[in-house]
Symmetry: C2
Subunit: 495 residues, 2 copies
Amino acid sequence: MAAQLPLFADAQADPALAKAEFNTRQAELRTALLRAQYEQLSKEKQSLLIVIAGIDGAGKGATINLINEWMDPRHIRTLAFDRPDTADQTRPPMWRYWDALPPKGKTGIVFGSWYSLLLRETARKRPRTARIERIALAIRRFEAMLAAEGTHILKLWFHLSRNAQSERLKRLLSSEQTAWQVTPNDHKVHKKFDRLCLAGSMSIGLTDRAHAPWHVIPSADDNLRSIRTAERVLDALTRPPARVRPDPQVQPPARVVVTDRLGLPQSAEPTLSKDDYDAQIGLWQGRLAQAVRSDAFKSRALILAFEGQDAAGKGGAIRRIANALDARQYEIHQISAPTTQELARPYLWRFWHRLPRHGRIAVFDRSWYGRVLVERVEKFAAPSAWRRAYGEINDFEAQLAANGVIVLKFWLAIDADEQLARFKAREHSPFKRFKITPDDWRNREKWDAYVRAANEMFARTDTPLAPWHVIATNDKRTARLAVLKHIVLALENAC
Amino acid sequence: MAAQLPLFADAQADPALAKAEFNTRQAELRTALLRAQYEQLSKEKQSLLIVIAGIDGAGKGATINLINEWMDPRHIRTLAFDRPDTADQTRPPMWRYWDALPPKGKTGIVFGSWYSLLLRETARKRPRTARIERIALAIRRFEAMLAAEGTHILKLWFHLSRNAQSERLKRLLSSEQTAWQVTPNDHKVHKKFDRLCLAGSMSIGLTDRAHAPWHVIPSADDNLRSIRTAERVLDALTRPPARVRPDPQVQPPARVVVTDRLGLPQSAEPTLSKDDYDAQIGLWQGRLAQAVRSDAFKSRALILAFEGQDAAGKGGAIRRIANALDARQYEIHQISAPTTQELARPYLWRFWHRLPRHGRIAVFDRSWYGRVLVERVEKFAAPSAWRRAYGEINDFEAQLAANGVIVLKFWLAIDADEQLARFKAREHSPFKRFKITPDDWRNREKWDAYVRAANEMFARTDTPLAPWHVIATNDKRTARLAVLKHIVLALENAC
């Protein structure tokens, strides 16, 4: 049956390549590949990801050697993924792929890629359609994001016909020098050949996009396979990036939020006396400590994102949380300007890189929302980049939630007068002066632009799975208690 | 009994600190700490590691908050280690500490540090002296290496007397607001108090060095604890680095190796015909494939380091090995000039960072021996740095071997005439030209200096656990087979 799949028909029609022709083409391609590789390196604008898939025994492994031999291997990394280990299992499935992304200018060969799960599902005797759709959608979103962020994606499917596969096995088994190349898996492939071809064909059909195209490589003849592979890689390195057509992403309905001054009804809450505060804070910290020590939390994780105007009291609120926790259980991430290492990858990379594993807590003092706040207002990101970020962020948080991570987002809000008072107090303290920089004063002048950005952010990213909590912080004590309460209630509710 | 340990006597004598005095000292210290921190940052020459240990409940956790509040938290990372997880367990015990080292300019607070093992051992009812000596020696070597590479190490032991500890428990348990701070572990501490103090005292005694000093912090009074901690941190940030006095390290007896031209008796081996080679290579590749698929290999790992003159055929030999392996099982690391990220850490960091886990293979195309080869000859490393590297490398490889890693090191040697012929052939090939750079010609002029460096390297680092194999490579086929054979025999012998 598989032999009739139209996708693979061409691959089988190709004739073998004679030695002399191979040698000529090889010399041309290697020269061109090296030139294209150095061109990519010198620009540092794009990276290339070559996804390797196909029938076992069709030469996927040999292709790694080929690419490393025909190009300059110092700038190529093989990213080979086996079964997930504990580190992978206690994070969302895409975590390990994010973590391994090569920086701009470099090339990555991906083996055992994000297609493993899709191929496994499509190769089942009874494929579960809804699951397949869901996995394919996640892949398409991931690849669209990578492409939009400057990654060239090339996906190669190494194909063998059923006859070619069985001839290969026979040939290898006939000699002691080659028999070891046949693994138990090869026999399994032979038995399930039609299903594997169908799985490949389905997976390709669901994920073939102009910005992340699939190519079928005829693999019965080694020479032809090498040349076709090299041609595809060369084409990907030299072709201008295709326009990205993303799938629709999680977009929550726009809600109306707070006031357009982000001032909040600060005066509505009476300020809290020191005694009342002391009496309450210990109790809430105690409940927080209990909740994260619970057995149920061992299969969850907690991510807290703090945003808000300068001097709104993020640091103070975070320390009150940290006080209730064991140092081995949490990590606080201060997010400021990205490093060169971070700039060379898609902007969410630095946050994927810092994901807590199950049973742990990560606190972000400023977060991935920088993309739609400071990067938008200061024009560090192009409008097209921050506009698509809302969907990407919702997708990111949905993946976290699906993995059992509790995501809470806090906007700490003060009014302009209170901010001014705090800025002045900081300037007068010899050891708080460092907290206030010319940037803070500049940001203050852009108060209205930040308000607009924050309001759009609330409207677009306040999802049931990762809600925003806007906290009035003119009264620090009330604010700290409010943050603690939200965390405790979310944890007690979930664990 | 513990009360009489002289180390802790002073800590108990200290009186509590009154609020007014605390406030004055606090303001002074915070101002000075910030200044010292920015000074360290601007120089990017030193990092500071603050190791936190001591009696549970003495305020170790609170100290993290303190340091983050009193200094600029954007440049501080808490490195908190819990029980080892799978990723840690399949590598040498020091792996996770290496991996987490902060870059120069930054400060790391280490919690659950490399002292955990020593403290557990010294706190046993019947401490095993030999084990304790061995762990303490490993710690001293590690810290000496860090200090020599520009890390300021400060170790703080938070001490409470037995009475203060039991008073603390009583006080906390008396109120619902604080009772949660008492963990089951606190009661255990109370029972084993004397043993824990003795363990601390022994551990401190065995590892107190001028370049990595211990300080006991009196912790019964919160104010006093905070001030003493801040004083120590300030002192570490402002004091010039102490002279490092390393412990004696693994130094194998100097052996006489090959010739002083590194020419090797190339002619002694007859060149191998293509047919003979083809007949043999498949068999050896098959044995290699079998060996790494074996169950026994699942608790081992294989590290191959390739060094040798330019054009000696490292890449070709490595590809013949890779051909026998599953892409998911191995990784090839091309080692060239270090990145800024790598330069900001001790030089072995980039290799620790790339260690394979059990069941995996890492191939290094050039390796940590660059320190005593190119860095020595080109004067990238000071003589004191590359001289101490021999011992550090032996120590590194001994840790690998102790963890079940098979380490094989290959020097591929050609003679000067053959190198010249290969250089010229490369220059004439449009797709091999990239392999030859002005650097290669320059290195060739320094042939004798490289020979001297290589000979000393063999003499000092050819250990039974990580032997050097010098392979004559004028005849490429013989050389590739020889490399394969050494690997196969070592694997078959070990697994």
